[in-house]
Symmetry: C2
Subunit: 816 residues, 2 copies
């Protein structure tokens, strides 16, 4: 949670280096704030060294007349004049609070808690200054550097610049490091050193960048004697913070006050301005009732948004006194449309993007190459979802365009093999074979690969044929496969429900191929298709599947056995034959739309090992860039690629967006895969797998059925009387709410779970940044509610969200 | 140009701060290189202060045994121990070279020239160290900071870290500032200070980030006497660079050698690896003959790529001695598919992206808002291409998706107004009215808004009707409008060519509406449409135009009068009526596809003031993000927006990509518009406008016909016997080459201009980074060659490219 209060202005003071005058300028600000009649809180969370100890007393010793309105506090203090991480390690803990070296989490919570305490005092107007230790990147107690460790609190910044030789460089670099973490830098302050005159350079430099720089007279040399030092220092403070309330420090104060009030005004204006200027995707504006329906996202960190809650708050926004932070933590329960992998604003990804943007900007891709794209292509083909079958990577901008590329590839390959058998008109009548409930993206071509439905537009023309698939779900504590009536009819029992006993067995496609159900599926598919081939509208030219889970169609868990048998039938492979990888496609080109399910979303690098068969074409996007920026990749076998080769330019795949394979996204993708692959073999994942009874052997990692969500919770949810089905896989938890109507237009899930959106302060210490109460932002698909984690969501967050879901649904159930 | 030589390894030494031991460690590296038998070049381009003067002699004084193999040089020297920009300003120039304070351009060229001189010495293996002054962001002579001023040379970096208190912070921040400019940081070296032990922290910190850190024993305290200093320092060097050739410095040397050879191996492997793994957009792989057809882009800066030329070079790559840089400058003559606005890798855009990524990452957009998107939406509507008519911004990922959104909007608005008159089947038969030669993007829906052609795929279904438009061109020094025969027939003279006298008159649509040609256009359009309405395949539901220039269709300059009359006819407005802005659409919704032509590509913020009528929907992309990352915006009038409002979710515009309005791109777009709008009112643009006889009055800035290209060149080109037409507008120069066949499959333009691709060292000092010879990368559309600038291309670059084009074509003409 970031902290923003109406009557308490908080600034965090960072230094461009150690010993640049951070404490002196902070003390001056404290004095000036007090002189202007504010209550002032001075917080130095960590202090090291006897010298800084003394500095720390600047405020208290010299605040004189304002002693009653200035409140000073240090949370962790060390005598050793070294970096805090070293001080903590060397001296052992000897601080004010009796805790051992705190983790980043505890540290941020301790600071946030103190700030909230101050905000809850009925003293206003009030100013607070939080002084950091050393430079922006000096390590804190845990070893994390200052700006990363304070980032969860997202306080606006005063950067104290360096006025000495070399100080221009360290000031600018420090500013850039703050920027890379998204910090709001309200002001840069530095001493007016008349010899090096850094401020002369920095004022216009930062003016061009919209940042205010204030130079303040430098302090005198430090005299040897303590008494003399006291006298000289006090005189200096009197000069820069004069009783006239004029001068540079008061100018700085005025500017910081203005920044604070401008920020309050701006954020308060955002809901209405957004209602006036923005057309949201997938939103019926007619149902948006007003400002409180607008989620104003001020920043984000990890799994949490920081949102402006003034319009949501029960207290009127005009209240004279508002002790709660105007910003509230909100768990990003849909992983921002299924994109998040390593949490919002991960510094490693920001740096990766910056590195590639700084080296290349964008460079056009036709017949060109650059390292980020080349490395990504090779990696995806050799060690990623293309492993063992793909030979080429084709980049585009999003899942929808990636699927259009896939369709163009498949149609061409099919048409080429048909040769003269297809005339121009017949080519236009090519269609796809798919499953009911499929969704492949929003562009019209991708939509045409699906049935007509609520999502489709005037031009929609469903090109193909879609089978109704059997689905998997947890229902009343049992794992059940629901067979559509048409399939049930070909089974011996005609039952529409098949109980499989366990998830792990349900997903063991290899074993299940030997069961009678596989034969029933085959029989049903063969019959249905031969009927279609006789009189269907389209010549089927590609099989298009979302493996395991159909996302936008309603989080439908398809029986993987059915998808496998379907592929085998299309390829003319007998049931239970060993899947020989072939470089040629047979029957129809098979496209896997892994945009949602791929790259560990379901706990697995790819869904391919699960089904035990390779596609001819696959599409990945969303997680590919770790949840930061758009990029899609269409992988293909060499046989598909060869269909476009000739000596004629018009035979090429004439598709390409301006920013195809732009370096920033490719570099971010490489970095994301580095991070995720490391996590995937780490202990947190092993533990989660173990809780689902899933082995940690290499093979199980490729095919195991497990989730970050608790197995017992899923079981318990599936038994609730408001719930028809519950399922979990990887990061995904799906709960289907009882509703007569059902479907996309249902509001049942939304209505039942609505209370989750409120920030609740129920836990002792919340899992949200700074330990703040948090609400849950989630999306529903009609009667289906789903919750999605990042690949690195903390156990505390997961347990806490589970608890909220359980209590909300359980209460809803009892009440019903 | 960045510099990379086979037998000369060059490293640039940056400091994390001033006084961190840069000169000492560089000297140690110089000594070690020499000790290992290399010729060594030590270049300190700028030196300030008597102390550094002495430091500078470290190399010479202490290189002893290797005096003949170590070559030391300083280009600019000042006595004043302050930042170079101050030294230069204070002392006046008193340097080694007799030039006044050099511009960044001259400075980079001086350094590059010296490096090239060293590389051309037949001495190998050789090492070179280029030592910078102060910290990474210390200003150079011109005031630009070190890492920005050296960036055009893109040399790999040794960063000397700071071993003192606070040094962890300055080292990390400096590294991040280097990263933001894309620098390759091969190594971080710092002193092993036993008290602060920064290296202990930095080694694992950077290991995690893949950067090598080497700690070296710290030098002794500097003794007072010069003799003693000499003795002590020499002893220190003997210790860290011992005759045994062992120890930390030699380990550093080995690592740098390895980085260099790894880079050579890697870049040399890139062509074949790319041929093996990448499927390029719009490329017929069957025509790619081998490694030399792969453009390996090592980095980019401003208007230039830096490309690997080993496979292109006339000299065999195996030559023992290769004095030329393996990297070559290449002018990006198509502005990387029409995206570039402010040059590649512009630091301001990199920082903007980093700032937003650091604050938000991506946050999902439905019913949410964040500052970068909100500000961009408001700005585009109020002060951008939506000024005066648009009420909403809908974001998507690229021009093609932006156009699909526009089509969905128009189709819905039209269908809604038709109401019961349209049944479900008729809705599918809705079509667009457009112009032959249109192109609206690569997705299938956008393609369906165009005629069938080489770009279309199996599923293509041309939905609509396309008129053949009259076009504008310079031909044999005259401005001519070419009328299609069908239009010529309705004129009095039946001539297919109309000479208009001047470009400015041709584009003065307001005046030309009063001419007979306007009436002829109206008559032709009305007749043709009424005939289509009687028996056409589709119910026309939208008018879709690329205003002024149809890009991918062949850079066709459409007569703007024709587009204006067409809009008036569709809207039922009489010819020459004053265009009353209406908030309601009439006739058909009008879509302007400004993806290519918008946002100053043609010198104008928007094409709308030119035509004098507002669209109902417009799409912008490409330049929107300054050429860095994908983003598109569809702007609409309120009337169109209202067509989607109801209390039913399924009536909403159910379109949205995962990364809709991702903060990094929105922030970059805002920053791009800041930069461009500043340039647009600057003197360079005024000068260019003046050269085309275009007034600088505010109105003329909105509607003036001018180009960055020279008017006389365009005239002269149009008279060449190999050229049929030449045109220029804004950043665009189009040359149509004579060819019997013509069209997209023609290779005439490519064949005639092919020589441009070679790097030529013809000018005294080239306009490319570091003054390097440069080739020109350009793309053709069949018989059409085009060249495109950024909005800030330097006059030197433009003149130089013009000269190359002229000479190539003029020679081709004489020869033919």
């Amino acid at each position: 949670m970031s902290l923003l209060f109406k009557y308490l202005r908080v600034h965090q003071v960072f230094g461009a280096n150690t010993n640049v005058g951070k404490t002196i300028l902070t003390s001056a600000l404290v004095r000036a704030s007090a002189a202007k009649g504010n209550t002032v809180y001075y917080l130095k969370p960590v202090s090291t060294g006897p010298m800084e100890d003394a500095d720390d007393e600047h405020v208290q010793r010299f605040s004189g007349a304002h002693a009653d309105t200035v409140h000073s506090r240090c949370l962790f203090r060390f005598d050793d004049p070294v970096s805090p991480h070293l001080a903590a390690r060397r001296a052992g803990k000897s601080g004010v609070e009796e805790v051992s070296v705190p983790s980043d989490d505890i540290f941020a919570k301790a600071v946030a808690s103190h700030i909230r305490d101050c905000a809850s005092q009925d003293a206003h107007p009030a100013h607070m200054y939080v002084e950091t230790a050393g430079g922006v990147h000096s390590p804190t107690l845990s070893g994390t550097t200052q700006l990363d460790s304070y980032r969860p609190l997202f306080l606006p910044v005063v950067l104290v610049g360096d006025s000495k030789l070399g100080g221009i460089s360290s000031t600018i670099s420090s500013y850039e490091s703050l920027l890379l973490r998204g910090y709001i830098v309200d002001s840069i302050m530095l001493f007016r050193d008349e010899y090096y005159r850094n401020w002369e350079y920095l004022v216009p430099y930062f003016a061009e960048r919209g940042v205010h720089v204030i130079a303040v007279d430098a302090p005198p040399e430090r005299p040897a004697s303590a008494d003399e030092n006291f006298r000289v220092t006090e005189k200096y403070y009197q000069e820069i913070v004069p009783p006239s309330l004029q001068g540079d420090i008061f100018e700085a104060l005025r500017h910081l006050d203005e920044c604070h009030s401008r920020r309050l005004t701006e954020i308060d204006s955002m809901p209405q301005r957004s209602l006036d200027a923005i057309w949201w995707p997938f939103v019926q504006h007619g149902l948006v009732k007003g400002e409180k329906d607008v989620n104003v996202i001020d920043s984000a960190w990890g799994d949490y948004f920081s949102v402006y809650n003034a319009h949501r708050s029960s207290q009127p926004a005009t209240a004279r006194y508002e002790p709660r932070s105007l910003l509230e933590s909100q768990f990003d329960g849909s992983a921002s449309w299924w994109t998040q992998a390593v949490g919002h604003a991960h510094p490693t990804l920001t740096l990766a993007a910056a590195k590639a943007a700084g080296r290349y900007g964008h460079v056009m891709f036709p017949q060109a190459t650059h390292l980020p794209a080349l490395k990504l292509a090779e990696r995806l083909i050799r060690h990623g979802p293309g492993k063992g079958w793909a030979s080429r990577a084709f980049f585009s901008d999003n899942g929808s365009t990636g699927m259009e590329v896939a369709l163009k590839m498949a149609l061409r390959a099919f048409a080429l093999r048909q040769g003269e058998n297809l005339d121009g008109m017949q080519r236009k009548k090519l269609g796809v074979l798919g499953l009911k409930g499929s969704y492949h993206g929003d562009t019209i071509g991708a939509m045409d690969a699906c049935e007509e439905g609520v999502y489709t537009c005037e031009w929609h023309n469903a090109k193909g044929y879609w089978l109704e698939p059997p689905t998997v779900a947890g229902r009343n504590g049992r794992v059940v496969i629901s067979l559509p009536p048409a399939i049930a009819q070909v089974t011996e029992s005609n039952d529409t429900e098949v109980y499989t006993g366990s998830f792990s067995w349900t997903y063991d496609v290899g074993e299940r191929l030997k069961t009678p159900l596989a034969d029933f599926y085959r029989r049903y598919i063969e019959r249905t298709l031969s009927k279609y081939w006789e009189g269907g509208d389209h010549t089927l030219a590609a099989l298009v599947l979302e493996p395991l889970v159909m996302g936008a169609g309603g989080m439908i868990f398809v029986d993987p056995l059915f998808q496998r048998v379907l592929i085998d039938v299309i390829r003319g492979v007998p049931t239970a034959a060993s899947s020989q990888p072939s470089l040629q496609w047979s029957g129809l080109p098979v496209i896997f739309d892994e945009v949602f399910v791929g790259l560990y979303r379901l706990g697995l690098r790819s869904t391919i090992p699960f089904l035990g068969v390779n596609p001819d074409i696959s599409v990945n996007a969303k997680i590919l860039t770790g949840g930061s920026m758009p990029l899609a990749v269409t992988l293909t076998s060499d046989a598909i690629f060869q269909a476009f080769i000739s000596d004629n330019k018009v035979d090429a795949l004439l598709h390409g967006h301006s920013y195809t394979a732009y370096p920033a996204a490719c570099e971010v993708a490489n970095e994301t895969l580095n991070i995720v692959e490391k996590m995937a073999s780490g202990s947190e994942w092993s533990d989660a797998r173990a809780r689902w009874g899933c082995s940690d052997a290499p093979e199980a990692r490729e095919k195991g059925v497990w989730s970050f969500w608790d197995a017992q919770l899923v079981d318990a949810l599936s038994r609730l009387d408001t719930v028809t089905e519950a399922m979990a896989l990887g990061t995904l938890l799906v709960i289907k709410i009882k509703d007569e109507a059902g479907g996309y237009q249902s509001h049942s899930a939304e209505n039942l779970l609505n209370a989750l959106r409120l920030a609740v302060d129920s836990e002792q210490i919340s899992a949200a940044p700074g330990g703040a109460p948090f609400g849950i932002n989630y999306r529903t698909l009609g009667d289906v509610a789903y919750f999605m984690l990042s690949l690195n969501s903390s156990a505390a967050t997961i347990r806490s969200v589970e608890d909220r879901i359980w209590r909300t649904l359980n209460e809803g159930s009892s009440a019903s």
